[in-house]
Structures are given as structure tokens and as C-alpha cells.
């Protein structure tokens, strides 16, 4: 509760938090089909209809309701973003923690593999994975998760190494606490702060990457909708039907903005050193 209060008393946190909450609600509604119309239903006589009282955001080339598709698309994009970041967080935390704890050869192997993964620009590594496995929603999840795992591994390993050397960990060992207990209770609990910041920022990046992959035709496949796919579809029609471009473009910008603002606020709250000169 105190964390929520801290977020909502921070100006960026208040705006970012509100945006994220609204988006999560819209994403859930879109995912479970609580939309004005069925996102796949084609109203053929109302093709390329401008926004009006019936179709709030107009219709597309096939007469499908843009608002419903947008809600569904937000749901799809958020599903990919949340799943990929959850996987990356889990993998990165396990690898980072064990690398810091066991050290030596295991640390060397893990960190060199992470160095190799970091040697690729993010979108290129995602493209390579998709080239191997083939495009699709779950391929995007796996690709984005693999791309961001090294970042989480580094975020966890550094602080875990310094916590491992602290007296209270030695004390826990002396008292005979098990390795699992020390790793989860002492190390992991102390890593919650940097991990929370990283998760929020990674959600913004993964939304961006998912949209990019879908835009290129390598993420979510039609007829399902995603924000990137809707933007790709708008390319040839933007002059006659600008609503097909404007609504998904604004939706994607605001969602990333929300996570970025929330991430900045969390960094300020959890790391007071950065507060003075926060960008």
C-alpha cells in the first residue's frame, strides 16, 4: 500500500500509473471479447466508415469495427508483452542469482552466453529467432523473452554479488539456513527494487518490439489484431481513412509512455540517489 501511495504522490507515477491501469483494463476487456462488436465481424456495407456514434473509431477496409479491433489488439500486444517480460524476468533472475551465488565456471558460462546474446541489436536477434521458428504470437513471446533475458541477468547478478558478500548472508549461513532459503529470502527479496524498475521499463520495450515485429508481418498473424498489424494495414489507406492510422498510433504511443513514466517514477522512489538529476 505504501508503494502505491508513493507512486501516486509522484507526478510521473500518477500519470503513468493511471495510464497503465486504464490500459490493463482495456486489454483485459479486449482479450475476453468485451468489445462493442466482434473484432472479426465484417459489416460489409459500412466499409471504411469514418468515426461516428455507431463506430466510435470508424471501420476498416473489411467493415470491421476499429474500436473493437483496437481493444482486441491492445489485449494481444499486452499479452505478448507481459508473457515475454515474465519469462525474461524468471530466466534472468534464476540465471543471475545462480551465477552470483555459485560463481566460478557457472558464472563464466552464464555471463559469456549473455554477452553473446547482447552482441546483437534487439530487433535483429528477435528476427533471427523468428527466421528459425517461423512467425506467430508465441514465437514473438519467445523471441522477446530471449532478447531481454540478458538484461535481467545483469540487473540481478550485480546487486546479488554485493548482497552475497554482506554480513547478514554470512550470518544466515552460520545459522545453517539452506541455500534455497538464503537465495529466495535474503538475495531475491533485496533485489525486488531494481527488478521492479526493470520490469516496468522492459514492458515498454517489449510493447515496442512486439509492435515492430507485427508491423513487419512477423508477429501476430491476421485475422487476429495487434497494434503493429493495424498500423501496417493502415499504410495504403491512410490518405482516405486516416483513423486507421491515428487511433493505433496514439494507442501505442500512450501505452509505452505510461510504462516509461511509471518506470521513471519507480526508479525515483526506489533509488533516491537518482532523484536530483532524474532525466
Amino acid at each position: 500500500m505504501s508503494m502505491l501511495r508513493a507512486i501516486f504522490s509522484h507526478s510521473s507515477g500518477r500519470i503513468g500509473g493511471t495510464i497503465v491501469v486504464i490500459y490493463v483494463v482495456v486489454a483485459l476487456l479486449g482479450m475476453f471479447g468485451v468489445t462493442p462488436y466482434n473484432p472479426l465481424q465484417q459489416f460489409r456495407i459500412d466499409r471504411l466508415h469514418a468515426p461516428n456514434a455507431v463506430y466510435w473509431m470508424g471501420t476498416d477496409l473489411f467493415g470491421r469495427d476499429v474500436a473493437s479491433r483496437l481493444m482486441n489488439g491492445i489485449g494481444q500486444s499486452f499479452l505478448v508483452a507481459f508473457c515475454s517480460v515474465a519469462l525474461a524476468t524468471l530466466a534472468g533472475t534464476v540465471l543471475g542469482l545462480t551465477a552470483a551465488w555459485f560463481g566460478k565456471a557457472w558464472d563464466g558460462i552464464v555471463m559469456r552466453i549473455m554477452d553473446v546474446l547482447l552482441a546483437f541489436p534487439a530487433i535483429l536477434l528477435a528476427l533471427l529467432i523468428i527466421a528459425v521458428v517461423g512467425p506467430g504470437t508465441w514465437t514473438s513471446v519467445a523471441a522477446i523473452a530471449i532478447v531481454y533475458t540478458p538484461i535481467f541477468t545483469r540487473v540481478v547478478r550485480g546487486p546479488a554479488l554485493s548482497i552475497k558478500a554482506r554480513e547478514f548472508v554470512d550470518a544466515a549461513r552460520t545459522f545453517g539456513s539452506s541455500r534455497r532459503y538464503i537465495l529466495t529470502r535474503h538475495l531475491l527479496l533485496n533485489l525486488v527494487a531494481p527488478l521492479t524498475v526493470q520490469v516496468t521499463l522492459a514492458l515498454a520495450w517489449s510493447l515496442l518490439t512486439e509492435a515492430g515485429l507485427s508491423f513487419l508481418g512477423l508477429g501476430t498473424q491476421p485475422p487476429a489484431s495487434s497494434l503493429g498489424l493495424m498500423l501496417a494495414d493502415s499504410r495504403n489507406l491512410m490518405e482516405n481513412a486516416p483513423w486507421l492510422l491515428i487511433f493505433p498510433a496514439v494507442a501505442i504511443m500512450i501505452s509505452i509512455l505510461g510504462f516509461n513514466l511509471l518506470g521513471d517514477a519507480l526508479r525515483d522512489i526506489l533509488d533516491p540517489k537518482t532523484r536530483r538529476s532524474a532525466p
Partner: protein
């Protein structure tokens, strides 16, 4: 061992790891090189023909032998033959690379020309309305994917002025500089947009740090004009994080131009990777990915070297 020495020593090791990853990844694709080249017609081959082709491609040998001969080829500049182009992959990559390099350089110029003054301006007006405005713009800029910026620019030009940017054409700079710049400026702005926002944020933050340092206060108390304090005393020290960011971002721009090249239909390296993936030209995918990763790593290494050169106080070996 100092950080830099370690960094130089691990470079070839990481590069080796990258080559293994790319090699293994492409071999994980269902089917083999014969299927990749012939498609469904591969099913019509007799066992003898298949065995002959396997021997020709070297895929009848153990995987380690295959990797070794592939690596030797790569070290001699042989990245394989592109199936769709019928030419060596390296030749095609080198044909496309100048465009992507120019795009990355121009985007960096756009970002620094906009981001640096904006960041300094905001830092000198800390917590005032103008600072807040710059921060909001920077935040929005950083949250806007480059392909969204590209689409909005194209829409604004076509809806507002009835013109469409030139697409699908590329005139080398040396052939016709003006035409080249005309073709590249919009893609450069598109790609440099979010980067400019990052430069703004980081330069504002670094300037705020430096402006509160004792030597700046001393300079001010000695009566040095404000403009001189900002540009001559404070800015050079605030540039270190900006240089680091620019270097790292430049590496990303080299590899991440795929979306912008796709929007403006520019025949660059990013678009080449995409074409190769969509047409399942695995030799070309492999070559492009290896080439871009190598450039990315070299740029990152140079950034680290610049980092130490720029600030002799930095003792990376101790801080890491």
C-alpha cells in the same frame, strides 16, 4: 586485469560465440540446405542425387566439421551464396551497407543537433515551464516507435501538402549529393526522433549534475559569463554520458534500421535481412546477422575505448 584489457580479450571469444549461435540457429531451421534451395522440388530428388548434393554442400559431414569449414570460410570473407540473388552474400551486404551506414550517421546528426541544445536548455531552466515542456516532449519522443513517426510524417506530408516522399530509390551520395540528401532526410529524421529524445534526457540530466559541481560555482562566482560557464566549462564534462549513449545507439541504428528502411522502401541492410527471412534465404540471413552483430560489437568496443579516453578519472577495472 583492467576492464579494457579484459574487454579486448573477450571480444574474439564473444565473436566466436556469436558465430556459433548464428550457425546453430540456421541449422535448427526445419529441412536442410537442399530443401532451402529447391523447396518442394527437393522431394523429387533420387537418393543418389540427394547424396551428391549433400556432399557438395558439405552437410554429410559431422556438425563440428561443418562449423569449422564454415568458420574458415567466414574468416576469408566467404559468407555463402544467396539463393535469391545468386551472388555471394558478402557482395550483396557490401552493396547495401553504405545506405544503412549513411542513414545511421544522419540520424545521429539529427539526434545530436536537436537533443543536445534541448537538453542544455532544459537543464539551465531547471523546474521552470520551459524545462517541463522539453521533458514532456522528450518523454513522448522516447515513447514513440520509429515506424509510427515515419507513418505520421508520410501522412502529414500527403494530407497537408499533397506530396509523398520519394520511396524505393537510392542515389549514392557521391553520384548526386543533393538528390541523395533529399531521399535520406525523412528516414533520418524518423530514425533519429526517439534517439534525439534520449539525447535530450541524458544531456539534461548530465548537465544538471555538472552545473551543481564546485568548479562551476567557482567559475560563476569569479564572474565568468553564464553562456561561457554553460558551453565551455560545464558542457564538455556533461558530454561523457552523451558520447556513450550515442555510441551504443549508433550500434542499434545500424541494426535497427529495418523498420524505417521498410517504411521508406530503402534498399538497405535492414531491409535485406527482412527480405532474406521472408524468402527463406538462410545463407543471406546468416551473413547479414553476422555482419551486423560484428559491426555492433566493434562500435560498442570503440565506445568503451572512447569512454576511457574522454575521462581519465574513470578506472573501469576498479569500478567493475
Amino acid at each position: 586485469m583492467s576492464y579494457l584489457a579484459r574487454r579486448l580479450l573477450t571480444f574474439p571469444l564473444v565473436m566466436l560465440g556469436v558465430s556459433i549461435l548464428v550457425f546453430v540457429a540456421i541449422r535448427l531451421v526445419p529441412g536442410d540446405a537442399i530443401t532451402a534451395m529447391l523447396g518442394t522440388e527437393a522431394g523429387l530428388l533420387t537418393p543418389a542425387q540427394r547424396a551428391a548434393l549433400s556432399a557438395y554442400f558439405g552437410i554429410d559431414k559431422p556438425i563440428l566439421v561443418q562449423y569449422w569449414s564454415w568458420l574458415l570460410g567466414v574468416l576469408q570473407g566467404d559468407l555463402g551464396i544467396s539463393v535469391i540473388h545468386g551472388k555471394p552474400a558478402l557482395t550483396i551486404i557490401l552493396e547495401r551497407f553504405p545506405l544503412t551506414l549513411q542513414l545511421a550517421l544522419m540520424s545521429m546528426c539529427v539526434a545530436l543537433l536537436v537533443g543536445l541544445p534541448a537538453g542544455v536548455f532544459a537543464a539551465t531552466r531547471n523546474e521552470k515551464i520551459s524545462d517541463l515542456a522539453v521533458r514532456i516532449f522528450a518523454m513522448i519522443g522516447q515513447s514513440t516507435p520509429n515506424f509510427v513517426v515515419g507513418l505520421l510524417i508520410i501522412y502529414a506530408l500527403s494530407a497537408g501538402f499533397g506530396i509523398l516522399p520519394t520511396m524505393g530509390e537510392f542515389t549514392p551520395f557521391l553520384t548526386d549529393p543533393l538528390r541523395n540528401l533529399g531521399q535520406m532526410i525523412l528516414p533520418a529524421i524518423t530514425l533519429g526522433f526517439a534517439f534525439a529524445a534520449s539525447v535530450t534526457r541524458i544531456s539534461r540530466s548530465a548537465m544538471l549534475d555538472v552545473l551543481s559541481d564546485d568548479y562551476v560555482r567557482t567559475a560563476r562566482s569569479k564572474g565568468v559569463p553564464k553562456r561561457s560557464v554553460i558551453w565551455r566549462h560545464a558542457l564538455p564534462n556533461a558530454l561523457i554520458p552523451v558520447v556513450t549513449l550515442s555510441g551504443v545507439e549508433f550500434g542499434y541504428l545500424l541494426g535497427g534500421a529495418v523498420l524505417v528502411e521498410q517504411i521508406y522502401a530503402l534498399p538497405g541492410l535492414g531491409r535485406l535481412v527482412l527480405e532474406a527471412i521472408l524468402q527463406r534465404d538462410y545463407a543471406l540471413v546468416q551473413g547479414c546477422v553476422l555482419f551486423i552483430a560484428f559491426n555492433f560489437m566493434v562500435v560498442n568496443l570503440l565506445v568503451d575505448l572512447a569512454y576511457v579516453t574522454l575521462d581519465p578519472r574513470i578506472r573501469l577495472g576498479e569500478s567493475n
